[in-house]
């Protein structure tokens, strides 16, 4: 097709590779802090302590990896789905340079202890302004390209992208409102209980609109593309989309169960959290039925394997999450290592698998070549799968033990059965096991990075014959 040549792939390539780099660095930091937990001598003050590195790990993966890949794959999908080139390709390249500079500044500032101390919103106010500028650039290109589109009907993935662009903007701006004191420090304009409520309205929806909706956009686009099977039910995807977008914003208070937050907010939050199972599983079922006519692809097509396992972890995540919100479960597992187990099933399972598969599909397309090694991609799959399972399952077991030890009361005299330190000592074997899981995951990720880099390098050396470019 003639129009193919006019697509703008440079920003796609730039963001995809930047995200890969920041992702690998941030997972490595995650591995280091997992060791610091059982080997405290590895805390090297003042910059390389757990309290600093954890922030770099989380922000590096949320902003450096996830947001970069969201930019990359959104710019790919939006051009394909609208059948027009990106409206402002130069703007996207400027955005790429600012983005990488911002990630460096973010890492340095977090290591220096400049933090707003709100989870997922640690970055200080000058960087917040940078993030907003980057997001506006993204929004202009996405909306501009959609408005100029040649394809009248907007496909499901575009719905999720539009929701992502809008929701993140609202959430990020409100939660980061602060009183600056100098260039490197600020105080939240909100206080106490109200601040907590706003933070988790934000925090939970950061998960929703960074780790869910854009990833679903990828899932709905790249699963059919890489398997050749159309999405099973358009109607189901409509129901799932609107109910998810409506209900997500109600749920943040499940992070504050049994805190001094007014009970009615907790209860409404929990109720909507339970409801969220429906839209989440709408997408899960849609994914399974899409591949159902040809399950043999699970053996023959490595991308199908990634996507189906990815959506499986999304399904498990969205059952486990609402369960955790219930007061009876929360009282046992809240504040324990169960929670990082939960979070990492979502990120290492659902997000990393879906983004990884999408990149395996996109990189050869934009570089006009084939993937370097399918065999290596298969090995990558097993390493990240097993690594993630070891991580999550270990943490779930540990979390239940911690919760049980904290609440255990001796039947003889009604005293607490364990001091806090006794529960800490119990953690060490599990924390070491988690590091093993993390190491496997990191090795898998390195295979992925190597595969992508080799694909790119080979494409540069041997240009594919003319006419093959898609």
């Amino acid at each position: 097709m003639a129009e193919d040549t006019s697509y703008e792939w440079k920003p796609v390539k730039g963001f995809a590779l930047s995200g890969l780099f920041w992702g690998a660095v941030s997972v490595l930091i995650g591995l280091i802090i997992s060791i610091q937990l059982w080997k405290p001598e590895l805390n090297i003050a003042p910059f390389l302590t757990y309290g600093k590195l954890r922030a770099v790990h989380v922000n590096g993966l949320a902003f450096g990896f996830a947001v970069a890949e969201i930019f990359a794959l959104s710019y790919y999908m939006v051009q394909r789905l609208t059948r027009v080139p990106l409206l402002f390709p130069k703007l996207a390249m400027v955005q790429l340079y600012i983005f990488n500079a911002a990630i460096v500044a973010a890492a340095v500032s977090l290591l220096a202890g400049m933090t707003q101390s709100k989870e997922y919103a640690e970055l200080e106010w000058p960087l917040d302004i940078g993030v907003v500028i980057l997001w506006v650039m993204f929004a202009v290109n996405i909306f501009g390209t959609i408005i100029k589109r040649k394809e009248e009907q907007m496909y499901i993935s575009l719905w999720y992208l539009i929701a992502t662009v809008i929701a993140v903007a609202v959430l990020y701006v409100v939660n980061n409102l602060a009183i600056p004191v100098g260039l490197f420090k600020s105080y939240s304009i909100f206080a106490g209980v109200n601040d907590a409520n706003i933070e988790w309205w934000y925090g939970h929806n950061a998960v929703g609109f960074v780790f869910t909706t854009p990833i679903l956009a990828m899932f709905y686009y790249f699963l059919p593309k890489s398997t050749g099977m159309p999405i099973y039910s358009h109607r189901l995807s409509i129901i799932a989309f609107w109910s998810l977008v409506f209900a997500y914003l109600w749920t943040g208070a499940h992070h504050l169960v049994y805190t001094p937050l007014p009970d009615w907010i907790q209860t409404v939050g929990i109720a909507f959290t339970m409801f969220m199972i429906a839209p989440s599983w709408g997408s899960v079922v849609n994914g399974y039925y899409t591949l159902a006519p040809d399950w043999s692809q699970m053996k023959t097509n490595y991308l199908a394997k990634f996507f189906i396992l990815g959506i499986t972890f999304y399904g498990l995540q969205t059952i486990q999450g609402p369960t955790q919100g219930l007061r009876v479960v929360s009282q046992l597992i809240h504040y324990t290592d169960w929670v990082p187990g939960h979070v990492h099933m979502g990120t290492m399972g659902w997000v990393a698998m879906t983004v990884g598969a999408s990149m395996y599909y996109v990189i050869p397309k934009v570089y006009n070549t084939e993937i370097y090694s399918v065999k290596l991609a298969n090995t990558h799959f097993w390493f990240v799968l097993i690594g993630q399972l070891i991580f999550s399952i270990t943490m779930w077991i540990l979390g239940i033990q911690q919760g049980a030890m904290w609440k255990a009361i001796s039947p003889d005299d009604g005293s607490l059965s364990y001091t806090f330190m006794e529960s800490v000592v119990n953690n060490y074997p599990y924390w070491k096991m988690r590091t093993v899981g993390g190491l496997l995951f990191f090795v898998g990720l390195c295979m992925f990075a190597y595969n992508i880099v080799m694909t790119v390098l080979r494409a540069k050396k041997i240009p594919a014959p003319a006419g093959q470019g898609r």
């Binding site: 003050a45 302590t49 004191v181 105080y187 109200n194 601040d195 914003l249 907010i265």
Partner: protein, 307 residues
């Protein structure tokens, strides 16, 4: 037809925006406009300049990733940490620092639980006090001065009252001093209810003379008490337990006094048999129960006898 919305991106974006704003309005904006989200307990005080500087250090160092500051209204939790947290305790917290993970214990009620000396020693090397602890050492904070100039701007930004003398006093304070001051400020706005006494006044040790109790007491001592009173019980952060002096007065004390000191801890100016405590002994009643405390009393008595 409803299907046309998928052909109209601007209309679509508007509907999505309205969709997300409904939940936002009900769960976030509406509560913010009501007084229930802005309560303040009567005896809650704003942070002093030193305490705020300490709170800033707490934020900088990412302490909130491992320590929570909210006690849930659950039986075991109230026993372990103290009275559950009230909404009105956090009016001066910008941002709130409730945290989401307890790799270390909750510290909402840590203020006054230990002495300053305990905190310095613990920050310096947590494993000196708790062998199995995985907390990083923060002794290096003692080499960092508090930035007095920044402190004034920060107090002004939050609108907290301060005096000139208070600001001047900051100039020779370290970040560790500030952090300890912040620790000691936590959780005082709620009165700490005294627990009903676990034994009656005048009760004698029912395990007296039981050698098994001495052995059991020694075990409990080594795990929980040696960190402060020394492995040989000759005293360190806490006083010597082998001598004849009790609460700074030489002379015998009853079993019940020993029991109450261990079970309820000491607060400044608390009275035990006419002796005045200086405070700093944490309460252990919730953790040990009667039998273990009496065993400890047996063990302490056995050391006294050796003298």
């Amino acid at each position: 037809m409803a299907g046309t919305i998928y052909k109209k991106p601007i209309l679509f974006a508007v509907v999505v925006t309205v969709g997300i704003l409904i939940g936002t309005a009900v769960m976030m904006v509406f509560p913010m406009l009501t007084p229930q989200m802005h309560p303040k307990l009567q005896n809650l005080n704003p942070y002093t300049a030193l305490q705020l500087a300490g709170r800033d250090v707490y934020q900088e160092e990412g302490c909130f990733y491992c320590h929570t500051q909210t006690v849930r209204p659950l039986k075991a939790e109230v026993m372990r940490y103290g009275e559950y947290s009230k909404a009105g305790e956090f009016a001066y917290d910008q941002p709130f620092l409730w945290g989401s993970k307890r790799t270390g214990p909750d510290i909402a009620r840590v203020g006054g639980k230990y002495t300053d000396k305990w905190h310095y020693k613990h920050f310096n090397d947590p494993r000196k006090l708790f062998q199995g602890s995985n907390m990083p050492s923060y002794g290096w904070l003692a080499d960092r001065q508090v930035d007095a100039k920044a402190a004034e701007a920060r107090m002004n930004a939050l609108g907290f009252p301060y005096t000139k003398e208070e600001m001047a006093a900051l100039s020779d304070k370290t970040k560790l001093d500030a952090l300890v001051a912040y620790m000691q400020s936590l959780g005082h706005a709620v009165p700490r209810k005294p627990r009903p006494p676990m034994i009656a006044k005048g009760d004698m040790n029912p395990l007296a003379g039981d050698m098994n109790a001495v052995a059991e007491g020694k075990k409990v001592y080594e795990m929980n008490c040696a960190a402060c009173h020394g492995v040989d019980a000759k005293g360190d952060i806490g006083p010597d337990l082998t001598d004849k002096e009790w609460l700074y007065v030489v002379g015998p004390v009853g079993d019940d006094t020993l029991f109450f000191t261990i079970a309820d801890g000491t607060k400044k100016d608390m009275e035990f048999e006419g002796r005045r405590a200086k405070g700093g002994m944490p309460s252990w009643g919730e953790f040990f129960g009667k039998k273990k405390i009496w065993s400890l009393v047996s063990y302490i008595r056995s050391m006294e006898e050796k003298e």
